[in-house]
Every structure is written in structure tokens, then in C-alpha cells.
């Protein structure tokens, strides 16, 4: 009698197992993979980038190369080859992208401009003593100073680092062509 009951239980569990496997393999895992892929794509776009993914890189000192490089590896344009150099005496970081601007801008003419404004804002808001960032692309360079970014958003940039403020004051503004033009004025040096 006990064995018959156990046989029924085994059959029921086997059916439950097969159904659970089908749900997990056929629906949940593909859905998760799709969401992950979508999230990675969103991280390339300054307007949809996730602020939470970079908050952990808040640091007082720009001399921490691992913190700074990890920050840029979690910001838009991270899919390009990147290298870094620090000039602590000048409180300057050099970020080198191994790609030409025109190639990055093939899909959106303002892609590099938006990314540079966004990445600079994030870096100056998160790293307290960083004063200047020099961006080098193949064939062109850009220089951004803390003072420039403070002109766009006001002094003490760390007030921007909350979800709503970041969305309204930083991300949404990147849809404004005039704002981009103003920010980029004088940024390109070569």
C-alpha cells in the first residue's frame, strides 16, 4: 500500500519536474537573457544608463586607478577599447578610446557628444578631487574641466546623484540639442 502511494507520488513529481523544467528552460531563462541583453544595450545610451551601477565608484581621490577605470568600464562607450593614464599632480585623468569619432557616430551623430557630457558629469560628481578629463579618440581629442561641468549644473555636483535628480537634470537634458551644443562648445581641441 505504501509502495503504491509512493509510486503515485513519483509519477506526480516527475510530471511536476518536467513542467518546471519546461517553464524554466523555455520561458524564464530566455526572458532573463533578453532582459540582460536589453540592460547591456541601455547602458550604452546615456539617457537610459543606470545610475545605481556606478554609485559604488564614489571616491574622494582620483589617484585610485582601479576605481576610475571600473567607473569608465560601467559608463557609455565601454564597448570600445579603453586605456587610462593619470596625472595626479594636475588632478587630470586621460581616457583613450581606440576608435574614431565618426565611426562611433555612424548610428547617431550626437552619440559621442552625449556620452562625453554624461561620462564627464558622472566622473566629476563621483570623484571628488578630479579636476580635468582628457578624452582621446583616433584622430580627435576633447578636454573637460570640472569648472565647465559646474557651469552646466551648478557647483558641488554630488547633489545630482539621486535617481530622480539624475534623470531630470542630467539624462533628460541630453535630449536637448541646444544643451549639447552649449556643453560641447570649446571642448574639442583637435
Amino acid at each position: 500500500m505504501l509502495m503504491k502511494t509512493r509510486n503515485r507520488l513519483i509519477i506526480c513529481l516527475a510530471v511536476i519536474g518536467v513542467i518546471a523544467c519546461l517553464i524554466v528552460q523555455g520561458y524564464i531563462i530566455p526572458q532573463n537573457n533578453y532582459e540582460k541583453a536589453q540592460y547591456i544595450t541601455q547602458q550604452q545610451n546615456p539617457s537610459t544608463h543606470d545610475l545605481n551601477s556606478i554609485l559604488k565608484y564614489k571616491n574622494k581621490y582620483m589617484g585610485n586607478i582601479s576605481n576610475l577605470s571600473n567607473l569608465f568600464y560601467n559608463l557609455p562607450l565601454n564597448n570600445l577599447g579603453i586605456s587610462f593614464r593619470l596625472f595626479p599632480d594636475k588632478l587630470t585623468a586621460e581616457v583613450n578610446y581606440k576608435e574614431a569619432v565618426w565611426r562611433i557616430n555612424e548610428s547617431d551623430e550626437n552619440k559621442v557628444n552625449k556620452a562625453l557630457i554624461y561620462n564627464s558629469t558622472a566622473a566629476f560628481a563621483l570623484i571628488d578631487n578630479l579636476e580635468e578629463i582628457d578624452y582621446n579618440f583616433t584622430g580627435s581629442s576633447f578636454k573637460v574641466k570640472r569648472a565647465d561641468v559646474e557651469k552646466w549644473y551648478g557647483s558641488n555636483l554630488s547633489w545630482l546623484l539621486t535617481k530622480d535628480t539624475w534623470k531630470n537634470k542630467v539624462q533628460d537634458k541630453l535630449e536637448n540639442y541646444d544643451f549639447i551644443k552649449t556643453c560641447m562648445g570649446g571642448m574639442e581641441i583637435k
Binding site: M3, R6, N7, L9, L13, I16, G17, V24, I29
Partner: protein
């Protein structure tokens, strides 16, 4: 007489030496020697007499107190059923782990295990011959209890070491550098809890071993026959 001594030693090879076993060995050996001598005295060739004495006793399992006569194939059938049940439960429990990419291999192993045991169990169930399920054999209940105890001790040791290992891997640097533990969200918390919980699935192994003494007693010939009457 060395031939008879070797024969007796061979019959007792699976038993640990103790007072009862030693006495039994001596008694059987002296009986066999007496029998061989008696046969030789009645005109039989010495080697034939020794062989005849050897053939008169080929198993001593029924003479050991802790050996229980069981319907061995009924016992095997129910044991296989229990193993199959636990294996399927372990397979189902590990299915959700695939969502976070942990325990994929363990889940696959339990699936393969359940499948193979399922085939064996199904084949055994199809045997409807009464004679097949009437075959009797001896099982050592004391050994089954001992193995059960060892299995639980080993499992406890495994759990303690896996908890320590997981803690060392997860929080080793936090402990070493006295840094606070940072769990950034519910997903990370769930992953951490799962890392601790995953080794507990191995409880099915001591549970399977745990069933043996109970089944030996359930399929004891005397007990089954008494219940049938």
C-alpha cells in the same frame, strides 16, 4: 587442515573479529576437522574427506545473531523506489537554481540519476514472478545501523566544512580587513543564501542510507510470513 582453516576464514571474511566470531570460527573448524577425520577413518581418501567436509557448510550468515533473513528482491525493489523518490525530489528542488545560473551541473546529475534509477525500478517492477520475490538472503542489521551512523556524521562534517568554505569565499576579505559586508539588493541576498543552501541538497544521501535498517526489518522473512498469516 590448513585447507579447512582457510575455508572457515573465507566464510568469515566479511565479519569483524570479535569474541562471538572467534568462538564460532573455532567451533566450526573443529566440527569440520572432526567430520573430515571421521570420513577418512571410514576409508575415504583424505582429500575427498576434506572436500566433503567443506561442502557440508558453505555459509555461516544464518549463525550470526545480527544477520536477518530477508526477502532480498522485495527489499531491493522498495529501496530502489526510495532512492528514485529522493532523487526526483532533489532534481525538482534544484530546477529553480538554473534561473540564477547556479547548480546547473547538480541539477543535470540528479536528472540523469533519476532517469537511470527510474529505468531500473521500472524493470524490477515488471518482474511479476512469485519465485523472484521469494528469494531469501541475509543482511547484517548491525552493519546497516553502523553505516547509517557514519553517513550522518560524514554529512554533518560536509555541511560544516561547506558553510565554512562558503563564508571564507564570500566574506573572507571582509573579515580579514574588517570591512562591512555590502549586499546591494534582494537578488544578491538570494544568491548568497542559495550558495549556503545548495550543499544541503546532499541530505538525500544520508536519508537514503537511513532507510536501510527499517527496510531490513520490514522484509524480514519471519515478520512478513507472520503478517501474511
Amino acid at each position: 587442515m590448513d585447507v579447512l582453516r582457510n575455508h572457515v576464514e573465507n566464510m568469515f571474511r566479511s565479519y569483524k573479529e570479535n569474541k562471538q566470531i572467534r568462538e564460532l570460527k573455532n567451533e566450526i573448524l573443529s566440527n569440520l576437522e572432526a567430520k573430515a577425520a571421521d570420513l577418512a577413518a571410514n576409508g575415504m581418501e583424505y582429500n575427498d574427506a576434506v572436500n566433503k567436509a567443506k561442502d557440508s557448510i558453505t555459509s555461516i550468515d544464518h549463525l550470526i545473531d545480527v544477520n536477518i533473513r530477508v526477502y532480498i528482491n522485495k527489499y531491493k525493489l522498495e529501496y530502489l523506489q526510495i532512492v528514485l523518490l529522493y532523487s526526483i525530489i532533489a532534481w525538482i528542488v534544484t530546477i529553480p537554481l538554473k534561473i540564477i545560473g547556479a547548480g546547473i551541473l547538480i541539477n543535470l546529475l540528479f536528472f540523469i540519476l533519476s532517469f537511470i534509477i527510474g529505468i531500473f525500478y521500472f524493470q524490477l517492477c515488471r518482474k511479476e514472478k512469485v519465485e523472484y520475490f521469494s528469494i531469501e538472503s541475509f543482511l547484517n542489521i548491525q552493519r546497516a545501523y553502523k553505516i547509517r551512523k557514519i553517513a550522518w556524521i560524514l554529512w554533518l562534517l560536509f555541511i560544516v566544512s561547506s558553510i565554512l568554505l562558503t563564508t571564507a569565499v564570500q566574506f573572507g576579505s571582509n573579515i580579514w580587513f574588517s570591512r562591512p559586508v555590502n549586499i546591494s539588493g534582494p537578488y544578491q541576498f538570494a544568491v548568497m543564501v542559495l550558495r549556503y543552501m545548495l550543499p544541503f541538497i546532499s541530505i538525500i544521501f544520508p536519508l537514503i542510507i537511513n532507510a536501510a535498517p527499517k527496510l531490513i526489518l520490514r522484509y524480514e522473512v519471519a515478520y512478513v510470513d507472520e503478517n501474511q498469516e
